[in-house]
């Protein structure tokens, strides 16, 4: 099943003014249900504008967006439902906390969905479990927590709505390596348990390589690539020209290949790299 489909999707800011700028330009895209997609593109490439169409925050200037087969802007579509079905976690979401307690903040979405108190409680606890937030924090003010904990609360607030599609815009910006790994690990686990479609926007190619299965590359308001991680990172030259990069380990293996070693053309994770070297050594009888 196709979770997200766009047809000739186009969005123009300040249309009809001298500042007119097309940020999304006739994009056709199909993302399968249950996929884990890394989204990359330089600042200003149009990726944030694109993802804001997936839960109806922006209305296309032209073209259509279909979620689970439904046109979001068709006259008989209740777009509010899709704001719950498609959970969007913005950059630095910790600045969006506002409630008196962590519990109330996480419960805000489920409450608005009209869940009963029992369901709300269960959703909040499950969401906390997924982001690794201890229950003792639930009655605290979110403003007493550390930056990393606040971010977990904000992500839990979206997970508590149990969305079919989860979109995260740079969820790890500003976190230390361990904090990054923890949050992404939890998202991966959530994806595995719920088969949620996940779109992860990140500037860290290493994180994309480690967690995503497919990569969507946005460049100059268009889709430049949408393919498996290995295939995308094997096009290092093009990626670099777009102001992006490939993981450091991938660059090492490309140089080894240029030197005539028979290594795979797109080694993008640490485990893969290690296995590849061990395989070569074994073939030579070491």
């Amino acid at each position: 099943m196709i979770a997200i489909k766009t047809e000739q999707l186009t969005y123009t800011y300040s249309q009809g003014t001298p500042f007119e700028k097309t940020a999304v330009d006739h994009i056709d895209l199909e993302i399968e249900q249950g996929e884990f997609v890394g989204v990359i593109g330089h600042t200003g490439s149009g990726k944030s504008t694109l993802i804001q169409h997936f839960n109806g925050l922006l209305k296309p200037s032209f073209g259509r967006v279909l979620i689970n087969g439904t046109d979001l802007w068709a006259p008989d579509t209740n777009i509010r439902d899709y704001r719950f079905k498609v959970g969007l976690v913005f950059q630095y979401p910790e600045y969006q906390l506002f409630e008196e307690t962590v519990f109330k903040d996480i419960a805000f979405g489920p409450t608005n969905m009209g869940m009963n108190p029992e369901q709300i409680k269960e959703s909040v606890y499950q969401a906390c479990h997924f982001v690794g937030l201890k229950e003792k924090y639930l009655e605290k003010s979110p403003f007493e927590l550390s930056g990393g904990q606040k971010r977990r609360v904000a992500i839990a607030g979206v997970l508590a709505m149990n969305p079919d599609i989860l979109i995260l815009d740079e969820p790890t910006a500003g976190l230390d390596p361990k904090g990054r790994e923890r949050i992404l690990g939890q998202i991966k686990e959530y994806h595995r348990a719920r088969h949620t479609t996940v779109l992860l926007v990140s500037h860290s190619m290493e994180d994309i390589a480690k967690y995503a299965r497919k990569v969507l590359v946005i460049n100059q308001s268009k889709v430049a690539m949408y393919d498996d991680v290995a295939k995308v990172f094997s096009r290092a030259q093009e990626i670099t020209e777009m102001g992006l990069s490939v993981p450091q380990i991938t660059r090492v293996f490309m140089q080894l290949r240029e030197r005539g070693f028979d290594v795979n053309e797109s080694v993008y994770t640490m485990d893969y790299a290690k296995q590849e070297i061990l395989r070569l050594l074994a073939e030579k009888g070491v």
Partner: protein, 283 residues
């Protein structure tokens, strides 16, 4: 090399809501010499931003002593002299831009220092050239990319002719190209203009490009050495929530699998060379 920043026995804590003291720096001593390019690493909450804020007198120690360019930061009358000599660049470029035209933004610092207009003109042009943004001098900052905005923020600092720049995660919000631009600019200012640079970062590859790496953990100094030496402690770094460059990690993993490789591989070139000689050795 004369000492430019110094912390001696510095202890600092914040008062939490329940009136409990949260000690962020525990008896820290650190000395940075003029012309150094130093990275500070540490997990979130390790105290690295707190120590950085001590170096330009945003914070003053509760115990111990901090001097910047030889001036005690507790001396309130000297605070403007300290801030002119020790500039600071923060994470979010959007929070640091004050004017609507690039060159006016860069002129803000020198204007406040009371410098003559002709000299300001000269400094602004020079600063913009140094960060590679001269051709954007008439542009509106909000139309620039993150990396460009961050370079404008750096230009605003160097127009004040500081001896030292402290950057607190300047690349955290930038795309890969923006990160490369900022890093190249920082290295150039350090190598060509001899400006002392303290770079706080979560990107290990950036720290690997510095001359010296200081690692903080729970308010204490864990390591203070060359990147090559610091990153050879793969296990300890991971235990304190940090990481090592992928190249270092790969060689470390292979060594653990019994492969004979050097334990101090840092850069991409070194990694390629080491793997080449390893694989050629068995050809």
């Amino acid at each position: 090399m004369p000492e430019i920043l110094s912390a001696k026995g510095v202890t600092f804590g914040y008062l939490k809501e329940d009136n409990e003291l949260n000690i962020v720096l525990k008896n820290i001593s650190l000395s940075i010499q003029e012309g150094e390019l130093v990275a500070i690493l540490g997990h979130n909450g390790s105290g690295k931003s707190t120590i950085a804020k001590h170096f330009n007198a945003i914070l003053v120690p509760q115990e111990g002593k901090v001097t910047a360019c030889g001036i005690d930061t507790k001396n309130e009358e000297e605070i403007y002299r300290i801030r002119q000599q020790v500039g600071m660049v923060f994470q979010n470029p959007d929070n640091q831009i004050v004017a609507t035209i690039v060159e006016e933004d860069v002129a803000f610092g020198p204007e406040n220092l009371g410098i003559a207009p002709a000299e300001i003109r000269r400094r602004v042009d020079e600063a913009l050239k140094d960060v590679g943004m001269y051709e954007y001098k008439d542009h509106a900052p909000h139309q620039l990319s993150g990396g460009q905005k961050q370079r404008i923020a750096i230009a605003g600092i160097i127009a004040m002719r500081p001896r030292c720049i402290i950057l607190d995660e300047p690349t955290a919000m930038l795309d890969p190209k923006g990160r490369r631009e900022v890093l190249t600019t920082i290295r150039k200012l350090n190598k060509e203009h001899n400006i002392t640079v303290v770079l706080i970062t979560h990107y290990m590859e950036e720290a690997a490009q510095c001359d010296r790496v200081v690692v903080m953990n729970d308010g204490e100094l864990l390591f203070d050495s060359t990147p090559r030496d610091v990153f050879s402690h793969v296990q300890i770094l991971k235990e304190v929530g940090l990481d090592v460059p992928q190249t270092t990690e790969l060689c470390h993993e292979l060594r653990r699998a019994g492969i004979n490789l050097p334990d101090d591989i840092l850069t991409e070139e070194e990694c390629v060379e080491a793997l080449t000689s390893l694989l050629e050795g068995v050809r």
